[in-house]
């Protein structure tokens, strides 16, 4: 039995036929080909699958695609605009905030949600806010630096 759902992903409306048990991350990766969102732990522990649901960070491996029916999703592919990279992408690039890169899509999405409307966020708040995102290369120092740089940058933009 399949359900018809309509979701907006990175500004584009999609009509999908999905089994209710289909996880959002699988719909994004396999049905829509948006493989930027990673499956890390698959147990809600690592944050690699983080996407935005109507602007809020959520775990796409811990959500059914049918729960997103009628909602708007942004994946890492939707962070950059025609005007260029999102400030957090630029900051990750300039601050060398990735090593192997596997956690990076989740870090970018969690970080972008964290700094949205909060350009004066403190380092402690960034560390607390990224508690659900694991980097097995342990590159946290540069990740935190990059999120702070991006936050200040959004204030100037």
């Amino acid at each position: 039995m399949r359900s018809s759902i309509r979701i907006t992903v990175n500004g584009v409306e999609h009509d999908l036929e999905v089994e209710p048990r289909r996880l959002l991350v699988h719909a994004l990766r396999e049905d829509l080909g948006l493989t930027g969102t990673h499956v890390g732990c698959d147990t809600s522990s690592c944050g690699a699958c983080t996407v935005h649901l109507d602007g809020d960070a959520v775990l796409s491996c811990t959500m059914l695609a049918v729960q997103a029916n009628g909602r708007s999703i942004t994946t890492v592919e939707g962070l950059a605009t025609a005007g260029g990279l999102h400030p957090i992408q630029t900051a990750f690039h300039e601050r060398h905030a990735l090593q192997c890169g596997f956690c990076t899509p989740g870090m970018l999405m969690a970080g972008a949600a964290l700094i949205e409307g909060n350009p004066e966020i403190t380092e402690a708040e960034v560390r607390q806010g990224l508690e659900g995102n694991l980097c097995r290369c342990t590159g946290y120092q540069n990740i935190v630096d990059a999120v702070l740089v991006a936050a200040r940058e959004t204030a100037r933009a």
């Binding site: 209710p20 147990t43 809020d56 806010g129």
Partner: protein, 271 residues
């Protein structure tokens, strides 16, 4: 990991949701516990009824002197509410520390209480605050006091065709706090303590010391008789037999109970 096949509906009225429950569907709130359980195939519901379409199940408001929170209110909203902070500080603390921001954006107060995980933070908070849950089912409405809700590991007195619609807390508990210990930031609490001070009476309830939240009676008796917090802390775990496991021995957990009961009480006193 892929859940077993299931059916899904997202009703827009409570009556429709209750009818679906009566047909055997399992309610899904934020899904932060249920979906992982479905992925691990610890749960295989034949059908799900998604409560997220029921706008009347969200919101935070005073009803007389009670603080009433809709069951589908997300942890993030509870944690950020000035009203919750003022009327039930321990709940604001606990909600702010559940999982990670992504978990708090989805997880709900009603879902957490219905899940009744022994290491979940909210049952102890509800118990210490002396709250209750308002429940609706096919056969009507009822109120379940905190002490009567959880009966065992992941088990409550909710019938299969019932759901929590709201959480009711006696207000005026701004002087309350929650403290917990866990190893990784996003882990469940190994042990937690909710302390509530009303007038000269301190009430403390513990997370993780039994299959359900329990009162720290040994701690309460000493503090309420004017004893020191240091002395009370040595007795916070009296009478408890917490499960031993990879997260610690019973002795260690009783030690944690003392440390955290004291820490929560000190935080409440400072408010």
């Amino acid at each position: 990991m892929i859940p077993t096949k299931t059916a899904y509906t997202r009703p827009e009225s409570i009556e429709e949701a209750l009818a679906t429950l009566a047909d055997g569907a399992r309610p899904i709130a934020g899904g932060m516990s249920l979906i992982p359980m479905m992925k691990l195939r610890l749960a295989s519901p034949a059908s799900l009824v998604d409560l997220s379409g029921l706008a009347e199940l969200t919101g935070i408001a005073m009803d007389g002197s009670d603080l009433v929170i809709g069951a589908m209110t997300r942890h993030r909203e509870v944690a950020g509410s000035a009203l919750v902070r003022a009327q039930a500080g321990a709940l604001a603390d606990a909600a702010a520390g559940i999982g990670s921001p992504a978990v708090r954006n989805r997880g709900t107060i009603g879902g957490s209480l219905a899940q009744s995980d022994p290491h979940g933070d909210l049952p102890a908070v509800l118990l210490a605050l002396g709250g209750s849950v308002e429940v609706r089912g096919a056969s009507g409405s009822r109120t379940i006091a905190a002490a009567d809700l959880a009966v065992g590991f992941l088990t409550t007195t909710l019938a299969a065709d019932e759901m929590i619609v709201a959480v009711r807390l006696p207000g005026g508990a701004g002087r309350s706090a929650y403290a917990k210990f866990h190893r990784r930031a996003i882990d469940w609490s190994i042990v937690g303590a909710a302390a509530v001070i009303r007038g000269t009476t301190t009430t403390v309830a513990l997370t993780g010391m039994a299959a359900v939240a329990v009162r720290a009676t040994g701690f309460e008796v000493i503090v309420n008789a004017g004893g020191s917090l240091e002395e009370a802390a040595r007795h916070a775990g009296d009478g408890t037999r917490p499960a031993e496991g990879l997260d610690g021995s019973a002795e260690y957990k009783r030690h944690l109970a003392g440390v955290l009961a004291r820490r929560a009480t000190e935080a409440a006193l400072a408010r």
